[in-house]
Amino acid sequence: MSDGLCSLRLTRRYAAAPDEVWGALSDPGSLARWLAVPRVIELRRDGRFELELPGGGRVEGRVREVEPGRVLVLDWRYGEEAPSIVRFELSADGEETVLVLEHSRIEESLGMVYIARWSGAVERLGERIAR
């Protein structure tokens, strides 16, 4: 799944310790400022969450995995869209924190992952994504 083609993967480096990044990532007040207003957020395994996006859309889902200061994995369901998975992973690097965000579209596109791996379409797709 993490071939970077069919799942979206972004890496960022923040000048803060993992705990500080985690605070900003999980605190409801902070979430409202950088991501979306959390109408519900139960930060535990199987806990429910509901986000109201600035554009007016709504994301609902459950917490698949939570390891404070390190990993947060969410089931992501936006409107009528096929459910997908959003994963945040933090790791300390000296004084900084590296965050890897991976948004993978598990269901319908898992088949596409196979196709993309094998076919010439992967290069065309890769070019479009890189642009």
């Binding site: 972004l10 269901e107 319908e108 596109s109 898992l110 196979y114 196709i115 076919s119």
Partner: protein
């Protein structure tokens, strides 16, 4: 889920791989397998039902090719989410700094 089910079978994955190279007739596809011709036709039917493969008639033959629609859909999905997350993660940086400033003031 639909595509996934169809691709659970190794013969069907191999057919998709073959069609990624270009259009093929059922006979050309069957020639690549030890599976019987009706067996291959059955796999092609499943792939069509799952929206992965499409067929067109060319005289006596029926030609099969990959359906680009699911890929185009995926492309649209990526085009939408990439800028979304990129902007959000920049906003996270601003939020981290804000929290750091606030914690600094608290000391």
């Amino acid at each position: 889920m639909r595509a996934l089910t169809a691709l659970a079978d190794p013969t069907r994955r191999r057919i998709v791989e073959l069609l990624a190279e270009g259009e093929r007739s059922a006979g050309q596809i069957a020639a690549e397998f030890s599976t019987s011709r009706p067996g291959v036709s059955r796999h092609l039917r499943v792939l069509r039902e799952h929206g992965l493969v499409r067929a067109r008639d060319d005289g006596q033959r029926r030609l099969y090719s990959l359906d680009p629609a699911p890929l185009a859909e995926l492309d649209g999905w990526l085009a939408r989410y990439r800028p979304f997350w990129s902007n959000r993660l920049d906003a996270l940086d601003t939020e981290i700094r804000r929290r750091q400033r606030r914690a600094g003031q608290g000391k």
